[in-house]
C-alpha cells in the first residue's frame, strides 16, 4: 500500500477474481486494496481514498448499483463496473448513476488495463484545452468549429451539442439517458431513442470514413456510445 502508484480499490466477492486483479494491477505499478462486500467498500474508501474503483455488480447484500450511488454522493472517484452479461439492466442503471465504464466478465488483463488507463487519463485532464484533437478530428469548443483533417465539417446545432458532450467526456461511456439529458435537457420527446440514433447516425456520416469501422464514435450495443480518442495520449501512463 506504500507503493507510489495510483490507488485502485477492488470490490468483488470472489477471492479468485480479486487475486487475479491484484496481481495484474500491482505488476503494473498500481497500489491495490480489496473489499469483498459493498459495506466493506464504503468503509474503506474514506481512508484509502482510491483513484479508481473496480466494482463487481453481483455483490451479495448491498448491490453494486447501490454502492455506486452511495460512493458518487461524496466522491468523484471514477468507477469501472465489472459485470456478467445477465446483469444488463443493473449495469445500465449503474452507468446512468454515474459509473464511468464497464467490463464484461470474463475479460483479459490487457483489456482491463486499457480501460483503467483511459479512465484515469480522462480524469487526469478534465480540461482538454480549447481545442480537442484526436486522429483527424479536431473540435474547437471555444470557436464552435469542427474540422476533419483540413476540411471544415458543418454540423447542425444538435449534432454539435452531441459531439460536444462526447468531447467533454472523451473516452467515457455515455449511456443513452445521459446523452439525452446532456443534449436535449429535460425536454420530453415522443421517441427519444429514435432522436438520439438519428443524430448519432448523421454525426457518424459526417465524421467517419467507414461507418462500419468507426474510428471516433463507438457504439456499446444496448448501453450507449463513447468517443474513442486515439492512442497518442496513452503514452502518458
Amino acid at each position: 500500500m506504500s507503493s507510489p502508484g495510483p490507488r485502485v480499490l477492488i470490490v468483488d466477492d470472489e477471492t479468485g477474481i480479486r487475486r487475479f486483479l491484484r496481481v495484474s494491477l500491482e505488476a503494473h505499478g498500481y497500489s491495490v486494496n480489496e473489499a469483498s462486500t459493498g459495506e466493506e467498500a464504503l468503509q474503506i474508501v474514506p481512508a484509502f481514498r482510491p483513484d479508481l474503483i473496480l466494482l463487481d455488480l453481483g455483490l451479495p447484500g448491498v448491490g453494486g448499483k447501490h454502492v455506486t450511488s452511495c460512493l458518487l454522493e461524496w466522491t468523484q472517484t471514477p468507477i469501472i463496473i465489472l459485470s456478467v452479461e445477465a446483469d444488463e439492466s443493473e449495469k445500465i442503471a449503474a452507468l446512468d448513476a454515474g459509473a464511468d465504464d464497464y467490463l464484461t466478465k470474463p475479460f483479459g488483463s490487457g483489456e482491463l488495463l486499457a480501460r483503467i488507463r483511459a479512465t484515469m487519463r480522462r480524469v487526469a485532464q478534465p480540461d482538454s484545452g480549447p481545442v480537442f484533437v484526436t486522429g483527424e478530428l479536431s473540435v474547437d469548443l471555444a470557436g464552435r468549429a469542427v474540422r476533419l483533417g483540413e476540411k471544415d465539417v458543418q454540423l447542425t446545432p444538435t449534432e454539435y451539442s452531441l459531439l460536444k458532450a462526447f468531447v467533454i467526456h472523451a473516452n467515457k461511456l455515455l449511456t443513452h439517458r445521459q446523452l439525452l439529458c446532456e443534449v436535449w435537457g429535460g425536454a420530453h420527446y415522443e421517441d427519444p431513442q429514435h432522436l438520439l440514433r438519428v443524430n448519432i447516425n448523421n454525426l457518424r456520416r459526417k465524421l467517419e470514413a467507414d461507418p462500419t469501422r468507426p474510428r471516433y464514435i463507438i457504439t456499446e450495443p444496448g448501453v450507449g456510445y463513447r468517443l474513442r480518442t486515439e492512442a497518442r495520449a496513452s503514452a502518458a501512463l
Partner: protein, 536 residues
C-alpha cells in the same frame, strides 16, 4: 333411455314407439317433402276428402246408369268398391266412411229393386254397406301402416345421413375449436336449436363454444356445473332447474363426463319431440367421443414435445460434456504442466502453452454464451426489444466483437449509405451477425473475402452474409439450422451446432426468416429477411 342408446348401431335410431303417432311428431321443415302427403288428418283435408268421396260416389252412380243395361245390377257394387279402395288409398278414415255410406245409399236407392226407394232392412243395403266399410277401412289401415313405414324409413335415412355427416365433421376436425364449430353447426341443422358447450378447464367448467343466440349467464353456468358434477340432465323440461330456458345434458364417455352441452329447450317448436331424443343421445355420445379424441390428441402432442425436449436435453448434455470439457481439459492441462513442470520448460514454450490455454478459455466462454442463448430461446425468455437501429452501427458492433485479429479485414460490408434506421433488437442482431461472420471466417480459410450485403426491399430488410468456403451440401441447407446439427466434414473446426440455430431463433423472434444457399461459384450465402413494420 337416451343414455343407453349410446352404443346402439345407427339404424336403430327410431324405435317402434314412434309408429303410433308419426304425423304429429314432425316439427322439422326439412322433412316436409313427404313421399306420402295423403295421410294428413288436418280438418281441411278431411273435408276435402269427404267432398272428393261424395264426388267419386256420384261419378260411379252416373257410370252405373250408363253400363247398367250391359251387366247385372248387383255387380255394380264392384264399381263402388273400387271407389272406396281409391279413397282408402288416397285419403283418410273419414272420407272412407263417407264414401262407404254414400255408396251404400246410392247403390241401394238407384240400383237395388225396388229402384228409387230405400227399403229399411234391405239385405242388399246392409251387405253392401258392411262390405264397403270393411274393405275401405282395412285398405285404409294397411295403406296407413305402409305409409308410416315409408315415412319412418325416410326419416331413419335422414337421421342416419345427418349423423353420418356430423360424425364425419367431428372426426375430420382436429383441434377442439373446429370440433366445437362442427358440433354447433350440425346441432342447428338437426335440431334447429342454438347450443352452448361447456368443457372442464383448470378453473372449473368454462364455455368452450356458444352459439351467438345463446344467452348464457352466471346462473346458467351454475346449472351446467351441477350437470357436470352429477352426470344428470337438468334445465328446461327436466326435474332439476326447470326454470331455465336451456336444457342441459352431460357429455359422457366410458371413462367419465367430458363436458356439458346445453341447448335451447324453449322454442317455437316446444320441447324436443320424443323421436329426436334418441338422435340427440347419439349426437351427445359422438360429441363426447370427439372431445375425448381431441383431448387425447393434445396429450399425445404434449408427450411428443416432451420427448423432443428429452432428446434435446440429451444432445445438450452431450454437447456440454464434449464441447465444454475439451477446452477445459486444455486449460487444465496447460496450467498443471506449468505448475508442475514449469522449471523444465523454457520461457518460449511456456508462453506458447499459455496462449493455447487462453485461446481455449475464450472458446469456452463463447460456448457458454451460445448455450445460454439457446436456453433463453428454449425457455421463451428472449424478448425482442425493437428499436430503430443504424445497420452501420450493428455491423460495426459485430466486427468489433469479432475482434480484428479474427480476420476482420477480410470482411467487406456493403451497406447503402442512405439506408434509413430499421427496427430491430440491436443486441440480438449483433449476435446473429457475429455468429454468421464467425462461421463464414472459420469455414473459408485463407484470404477469401467474406461479404455482408444489406438491402432494403419492399417491407423487409435483407441481410446477406456471403463466403467462399467449402459450402453446405445441398441436402443439409435446412438442417444446418437445427439444434446441434453439424455438417459432417473431417477436420472441420470445432463447434456446437448451436450457432445457426441461435441465429434462426433470434431472427424468428423478429418475425423474420433465415435461409442458407449454395453460391454458384462455391461458398455459402446466408440470407436474413426482417420485416420492417414494428412488431406488436
Amino acid at each position: 333411455m337416451p343414455d343407453e342408446a349410446g352404443s346402439v348401431a345407427v339404424p336403430n335410431v327410431v324405435t317402434h314407439a314412434t309408429l303410433t303417432r308419426p304425423r304429429r311428431l314432425d316439427p322439422s321443415p326439412s322433412w316436409k317433402n313427404r313421399l306420402w302427403r295423403t295421410g294428413d288428418a288436418s280438418p281441411n283435408n278431411r273435408w276435402r276428402g269427404a267432398a272428393v268421396s261424395l264426388a267419386i260416389t256420384g261419378l260411379i252412380t252416373i257410370l252405373g246408369f250408363w253400363i247398367e243395361p250391359f251387366i247385372r245390377a248387383p255387380n255394380l257394387a264392384i264399381l263402388y268398391m273400387l271407389g272406396v279402395v281409391f279413397v282408402a288409398v288416397r285419403w283418410g278414415r273419414w272420407p272412407v266412411i263417407v264414401n262407404a255410406v254414400s255408396s251404400a245409399l246410392l247403390f241401394d236407392y238407384f240400383f237395388i229393386p225396388p229402384v228409387r226407394s230405400f227399403v229399411i232392412g234391405d239385405v242388399w243395403y246392409s251387405i253392401t254397406l258392411i262390405g264397403l266399410l270393411a274393405v275401405g277401412l282395412i285398405v285404409n289401415t294397411l295403406i296407413g301402416a305402409a305409409r308410416d313405414e315409408a315415412l319412418l324409413a325416410q326419416r331413419r335415412a335422414e337421421h342416419v345421413s345427418a349423423l353420418y355427416s356430423f360424425m364425419q365433421s367431428v372426426a375430420s376436425g382436429n383441434g377442439l375449436d373446429r370440433i366445437m364449430g362442427g358440433v354447433a353447426r350440425h346441432f342447428m341443422e338437426m335440431f334447429q336449436r342454438p347450443i352452448v358447450v361447456l368443457l372442464p378447464g383448470e378453473e372449473g367448467l368454462s364455455v368452450g363454444f356458444a352459439s351467438a343466440e345463446m344467452m348464457f349467464d352466471e346462473a346458467e353456468s351454475r346449472i351446467a356445473s351441477w350437470v357436470f358434477e352429477n352426470g344428470q340432465e337438468a334445465g328446461y323440461g327436466t326435474e332439476m332447474f326447470s326454470g331455465s330456458g336451456i336444457c342441459y345434458r352431460p357429455l359422457k364417455t366410458g371413462s367419465g363426463i367430458v363436458g356439458v352441452i346445453g341447448f335451447q329447450g324453449k322454442s317455437s317448436q316446444g320441447l324436443l319431440p320424443p323421436d329426436q331424443l334418441d338422435l340427440l343421445s347419439i349426437f351427445l355420445d359422438q360429441t363426447a367421443l370427439a372431445i375425448t379424441r381431441a383431448d387425447l390428441a393434445r396429450k399425445a402432442k404434449r408427450a411428443e414435445a416432451l420427448q423432443e425436449t428429452d432428446r434435446l436435453q440429451k444432445a445438450l448434455l452431450n454437447s456440454v460434456s464434449h464441447n465444454l470439457r475439451s477446452p477445459l481439459s486444455s486449460v487444465l492441462g496447460v496450467l498443471s504442466t506449468i505448475l508442475e513442470d514449469g522449471s523444465l520448460l523454457d520461457a518460449f514454450t511456456q508462453q506458447s502453452l499459455l496462449r493455447t490455454a487462453q485461446k481455449e478459455a475464450r472458446q469456452l466462454d463463447w460456448l457458454i454464451q451460445n448455450l445460454l442463448d439457446m436456453t433463453r430461446l428454449e425457455s421463451g425468455a428472449i424478448r425482442v426489444r425493437a428499436d430503430l437501429c443504424d445497420m452501420h452501427d450493428v455491423v460495426a458492433a459485430a466486427l468489433r466483437q469479432l475482434g480484428e485479429p479474427a480476420g476482420c479485414s477480410r470482411i467487406l460490408a456493403n451497406i447503402p449509405p442512405g439506408l434509413p434506421l430499421v427496427p430491430m433488437d440491436g443486441i440480438l442482431m449483433v449476435q446473429v451477425l457475429v455468429n454468421l461472420l464467425d462461421n463464414a471466417l472459420k469455414y473459408s480459410g485463407g484470404d477469401a473475402p467474406v461479404e455482408i450485403q444489406v438491402r432494403l426491399d419492399t417491407g423487409q430488410l435483407e441481410i446477406r452474409v456471403l463466403d467462399r468456403g467449402r459450402g453446405i451440401p445441398e441436402g443439409e441447407l435446412e438442417r444446418v439450422f437445427d439444434r446441434f446439427y453439424r455438417v459432417a466434414v473431417p477436420g472441420a473446426p470445432r463447434g456446437t451446432g448451436l450457432g445457426l440455430s441461435i441465429c434462426r431463433g433470434f431472427v424468428e423472434a423478429h418475425n423474420g426468416r433465415i435461409l442458407a444457399m449454395r453460391r454458384a461459384q462455391g461458398g455459402t450465402e446466408v440470407a436474413l429477411f426482417l420485416p420492417l413494420e414494428a412488431r406488436t
